[in-house]
């Protein structure tokens, strides 16, 4: 066997990326760690408090509530957007003039900046001038997202579904388009039902893109800030104060840098853990099914 000499030149190619990441992520993260164990009254003066902020935070009801809201929100978003995205992708045409029309229509919501999406829905849902709010009220349905927390939740969830299902659709559509015709022809010869084609051909072939879709949608929904901030500002009461909104209130509103840093770190660790679990589980299923398939 010929031993190939390892070429270490590639490290120089990675160096610029490493520097950019160091300046944009690693050094700020280190600073957050430093802040989380200290108290400050401004003027760059810091006082050591040890693990007190973490202890306070882990025992605070405000944090528990925000965390719970965030988990419920992400769970609802994934439960709606992933199946809906797959369904729309399956229903989209594969050839003809319908393809560009569908793709562009699907891509439109993704092109709108997040705060604009928030503003659109904020106005759309208003009872006095908004099309949705006004119509619902005229129909006799009691809908007011500024006073009713259920209405606020529904508005934000529908807004997120409107904004981000397209991403899942486009990813799934790309996955579906990459399946060679031979698979469908084989299924036809075997007399496979529509459900069997979906279960044994389309779903396994969409595995990779679905992994990306689930990860992206989970991370984005778990970190959602702009849209609920614009629509409800965390209200009514605290009913839509998700983790990021609470974090910003703490860090910038109250200027409690220490507790906010502790909260960011716990937030970061939770996202890291869940993403790792999703990634490991889903890529493992992928490997097993590809081994079983060949």
């Amino acid at each position: 066997m010929i031993e190939k000499k390892a070429n270490q030149k590639a490290w120089f190619m990675v160096l610029p990326v490493f520097l950019v990441v160091a300046f944009s992520a690693i050094i700020p993260l280190m600073t957050v760690v430093n802040y989380s164990v200290q108290d400050t009254f401004g003027n760059n003066q810091f006082f050591w408090v040890g693990m007190d902020w973490f202890r306070d935070l882990l025992h605070s009801e405000r944090f528990h509530d925000a965390f719970l809201r965030q988990v419920i929100f992400s769970a609802i978003i994934l439960t709606i957007e992933i199946p809906l995205g797959i369904a729309i992708a399956l229903a989209m045409p594969r050839k003809g003039w319908g393809v560009p029309v569908c793709l562009i229509t699907m891509a439109l919501p993704l092109l709108i900046p997040w705060n604009v999406v928030g503003t659109i829905w904020q106005i759309f849902g208003r009872v006095d001038i908004g099309l949705l709010g006004h119509t619902l009220t005229a129909l006799g349905i009691d809908y007011n997202y500024t006073q009713d927390s259920v209405a606020a939740w529904i508005t934000i969830i529908i807004m997120d579904v409107w904004h981000w299902t397209s991403l899942v659709v486009l990813l799934c559509y790309a996955g579906l388009c990459s399946i060679p015709d031979a698979y469908y022809q084989a299924a036809k010869i075997d007399g496979a039902s529509r459900i069997a084609v979906f279960r044994y051909i389309q779903l396994p072939k969409m595995q990779r893109v679905l992994l990306i879709a689930v990860l992206l949608r989970f991370m984005d929904s778990f970190m959602i800030y702009t849209e609920p901030f614009v629509i409800t500002g965390g209200g009514p009461g605290n009913s839509t104060t998700f983790m990021s909104i609470d974090l910003v209130k703490m860090a910038i509103g109250q200027f409690d840098l220490g507790p906010a840093a502790a909260m960011s770190l716990i937030y970061f660790l939770v996202i890291l853990l869940l993403c790792w679990v999703f990634f490991t589980v889903m890529s493992n299923i992928g490997e097993e099914s590809s081994k079983g398939g060949t």
């Binding site: 050094i27 430093n34 164990v37 660790l269 790792w276 493992n284």
Partner: protein
């Protein structure tokens, strides 16, 4: 270079130096025996040395958080527990 804006403390500096030390150790280990020693452990998925370090560190962070949330004893016990956990991860995961 003025690093006062980063608000360094001795304990946090020690923490990051240990992380750096771990990364350097892993690099040396990788150079001594390349390939990362992949294997399928008790969790039924393939992991390399780097994966095991990641699982150890992430798990240790959560051990400390859970300790702070539920126990009032010193955090050093959590560190001992995290050490045992890391050894178990490197042996069996």
């Amino acid at each position: 270079m003025d690093l006062s804006w980063m608000a360094w403390t001795k304990p946090t500096a020690t923490f990051f130096i240990i992380i750096l030390f771990l990364l350097v150790t892993m690099t040396i280990w990788e150079l001594k025996s390349p390939g990362g020693a992949p294997r399928k452990g008790i969790l039924q998925f393939e992991s390399t040395r780097g994966d095991r370090l990641f699982i150890s560190l992430l798990g240790s962070a959560f051990i400390h958080i859970i300790w702070l949330a539920f126990f009032s004893l010193s955090l050093w016990w959590a560190l001992v527990l995290a050490g045992i956990y890391a050894i178990c991860v490197f042996l069996w995961v």
